[in-house]
Subunit: 238 residues, 2 copies
């Protein structure tokens, strides 16, 4: 029993060490690709940057293409899956779903600035199937966020606006973080992610009608008058 | 008199033609710089792209550096001046100042997508004094927008948040347009700029108190405005 436990602990340590080094390899590779371009970076450069031998590097990765494929997959499929899960979580209100997606997007960009900059601006320089995978991942993530906003508009929680432009507004605000955020002990990312996720909700949510029933009534009446006029005009045109 | 008028008209036509060709030269140069890099683009490439001879090109511009300097100046000093003027316009409320800045920024990005992409992502590849001018221009424009938000927080029109992060949120949303907007007769930029400038105001403004009849009136009016905008969007799509 004791020996089994010791073996299991060893196994866990080996796995943890492997994951740590793989993460380092991916981070260093992303930085080098961003600085020198994909073609201008060799596996030897990456090994030297990580501080391991080229032989040791081959134990973890087989090729530059494999590293790049992993960088692309990390930035796309995991985001799509996460956004889909949050969208489907009916225990959350629509505003809360949007808030979580914005919060996690800002935290991702603050953590993986270099990697995001590299892939987002160099998609055209990627090998074709990777570029396709990356762009398809972005398209799916946008479609899911747009769905979250459309759901909220249907439920009356968000204003009736163009949901695609709304999704691109939220993504633009969050993605931009990768270009201006400077990490450091005096610059935690969490307060930025909190403010931006508040802003994402505030920019889309419906006007509160307030506690005054007469105000709510006036809003409803004015909106109905407007709608009636509009529909009459449309009917004449039709 | 008549001859003077004819000469003046001729002069105006010549100036208009010169401005048109200069604009074309700058647009084609920005696209080529973005595609092939600054070093990889010759004045001959630019002339060929515009459809004029290299000799004709020299009549308008002296060097690649001159073109690049113009591209940088257009994107920086004019924006700083404009933002400063809007900030100083005391006939406007704080929300209206923010709305105008966001609207004009989106319209700029939609119009000059290639140019903005080139300079924003290649600042490090510019000749040093141009890179400095570009980064200083961005810094000043950010400081002015931050000032607009700080003024609005002091006046109680905006929520008490981190004004720098607020300014970067608005700029991120607006700047991102350069990477996703596809111009065309079916895709006018104005509705996008309207929605985004609404969102910029909504993400920062203070919560309405609700029991104040004036706040209720403002809410009713905002609902009408929103309905009107939505019907306009529907009409354009229809």
């Amino acid at each position: 029993m004791a020996q089994d436990s010791a073996e299991a602990a060893n196994q866990r340590r080996t796995t943890a060490r492997r994951e740590l080094i793989e993460t380092q390899i991916h981070e260093h590779a992303a930085r080098l690709f961003a600085q020198r371009g994909f073609a201008g970076t060799s596996l030897g450069d990456i090994a030297e940057s990580v501080g391991i031998t080229r032989q040791a590097l081959y134990y973890y990765v087989k090729s530059k293409d494999e590293i790049l494929a992993k960088l692309v997959a990390d930035l796309t499929s995991s985001v799509v899956t996460r956004t889909r899960e949050i969208r489907a979580d009916t225990t959350l209100g629509h505003a809360e779903r949007l808030r979580r997606i914005a919060y996690l997007t800002v935290m991702d960009r603050a953590r993986d600035r270099t990697r995001f900059q590299l892939l987002d601006r160099s998609a055209s320089a990627l090998p074709p199937e990777l570029a396709d995978a990356f762009l398809e991942g972005r398209r799916l993530a946008l479609a899911e966020l747009r769905g979250v906003i459309e759901d909220g508009i249907t439920a009356g929680e968000f204003r009736p606006l163009d949901a695609r432009v709304g999704a691109l507004s939220v993504l633009g605000m969050c993605n931009w973080v990768a270009w201006w955020y400077e990490p450091g002990p005096d610059h935690p990312a969490e307060p930025i992610a909190e403010q931006m996720s508040d802003c994402a909700v505030a920019m889309l949510r419906s006007e509160p009608t307030g506690t005054d029933p007469l105000a709510a009534l006036a809003t409803a009446r004015a909106s109905l008058d407007q709608l009636e006029r509009q529909l009459r005009i449309d009917n004449r045109r039709g």
